[in-house]
Subunit: 291 residues, 2 copies
């Protein structure tokens, strides 16, 4: 039976550490500030922004939610970003994705001051990550790195197989784990839906990361006995027994894989909580960086 | 016996295509211009810059070499870059690496206008590459992509194993080949000197890329019969029979690997010529982009 990697507990540990740092900043008269810009009526986006705000409030980070209608013009968004870039009380800026179709998301992210890009998706931050001298790392991949590190599952010298080569998780995670540093140093294989012998490759993994976005895709046949399994999936499947009629499952068939894996992250309560913790960590970092 | 992938011929093909584009630009009164900044007395750097200049001249690209002494102050270099950024006759700027130790290379590259960064190492260009919407790609990795593509060795659906995770070749190449596009779509494994079972992993490769910087590191035991082998190495080894007392060898033991591989790039004459061709291609792209 696999050890369950408790993302919630590890995220809490990080938040406790951050709280101390924030207290010290406050003693020096500085309150970290995060602005979240939400354009349009995507209910999931609204939910995420609220979760992030709540997490900020708990730690003593000032958070400001700026909501704009679905038809908010791109030019006005760019002006709004400019004004947030200039504000001294705002250290981190979050442009909640996805933006409405008429707005060029790449253009908006490029407009954010890289020193306030706590999401880590400004090309400059992505490029610095690839160069191995990161400023801000994107929250989900760096959350996974931290989760492995703090749970004692160090990737150095291990073979990590990542299923899914997306921009948000797979590709940046491959970069981070391959880097020549303490938390990296892995051999990394990046697979995708077009990988012909994905079962065979997955079974070689000492650490298997599932980030395909396909419910219960990873079965026990894909997992080497004793491997560490990280589940990044957040898929909703119908469930008549659940009050909402649906429930959240990962990309891993947890029930069967936990019988064979050495360690596994659950969904929910695995990678998810780490993502918010890393965003908060980036916000504190942005605040200290300006000092 | 492996097919020898003729990098020189393919690079020539690219240069012929570029020549036509440059002629068209000239008809419109525009001459592409490349400035190469060479600081200090590194003889290899001087040689590279001269090779690049010659290649420019042959195609009708205006090239300007700016040489500065070893003790050239960082602040002056930054000013020089600013002035090149502003010049309308200069479309591409090359800061020849390595810079003297007292200059922060990252700072210098960051100062280059990303639209003139024909080397593709400005963090913005690196980040856009990682995001899958590239502006300028670094010359060696994109040269390898082009070499595979034009020699009919398409990586899509193949397992590419890259030996060496460096910033200049391994990491960016892994990103490029994993991207969801025509010239990518491979399953990519990135190995390094700390990979425990590197022989076993290398032998899985349909396409094996050697970029470790170790002379003749890849032996026939590391190559699956019929695999495509790309040799990025440029190592000098002593050779009393050579007029210079040394000769250039790759990271692959060419003589024995060519007996088992399906196709192989030689050193010299493989990846090397592609690197310069891609730099020229980026310079033409930079010129057209401004129109």
């Amino acid at each position: 039976m696999a050890v369950i990697i408790d993302g919630k507990r590890i995220a809490q540990q990080i938040k406790t550490e951050l709280k101390e740092e924030i207290l010290k900043l406050k003693e020096a008269g500085i309150v970290p500030g995060l602005a979240a810009v939400l354009v349009g009526n995507n209910p999931a986006s609204a939910l995420y922004v609220n979760m992030k705000q709540k997490a900020c409030n708990k730690l003593g980070i000032y958070s400001e939610k700026i909501t704009k209608p679905d038809d908010y013009p791109e030019a006005e968004l760019l002006n709004l970003i400019d004004s947030l870039n200039k504000r001294d009380d705002i250290h981190g800026i979050l442009i909640q994705s996805p933006l409405p179709e008429h707005i060029d998301e790449g253009k908006a992210i490029l407009r954010v001051d890289p020193r306030k890009d706590v999401d880590g998706f400004h090309p400059i931050n992505q490029g610095l990550m690839l160069a191995g001298r990161p400023m801000f790392l994107p929250a989900t991949p760096s959350g996974i790195v931290e989760l492995l590190w703090r749970s004692g599952n160090k990737p150095a010298g291990k073979h990590v197989v990542i299923l899914g080569r997306g921009y948000l998780v797979g590709r940046p995670l491959a970069v981070l784990l391959a880097l020549k540093n303490q938390k990296g140093n892995a051999t990394v294989t990046l697979c995708h839906t077009g990988t012909p012998d994905i079962y065979k490759i997955a079974r070689q993994a000492d650490i298997l990361v599932a980030a395909m976005g396909k419910a219960k895709y990873v079965t026990k046949e894909m997992v080497k006995p004793g491997a560490v399994v990280v589940d990044v999936g957040t898929n909703k499947i119908p469930d008549p027994n659940h009050p909402k009629g649906e429930r959240l499952v990962g990309d891993v068939d947890f029930e069967e894989v936990k019988e064979i894996a050495g360690a596994i992250t659950p969904v929910p309560g695995g990678v998810g909580p780490m993502t918010i913790a890393m965003l908060l960590s980036n916000t504190v970092k942005a605040t200290k960086q300006g000092l």
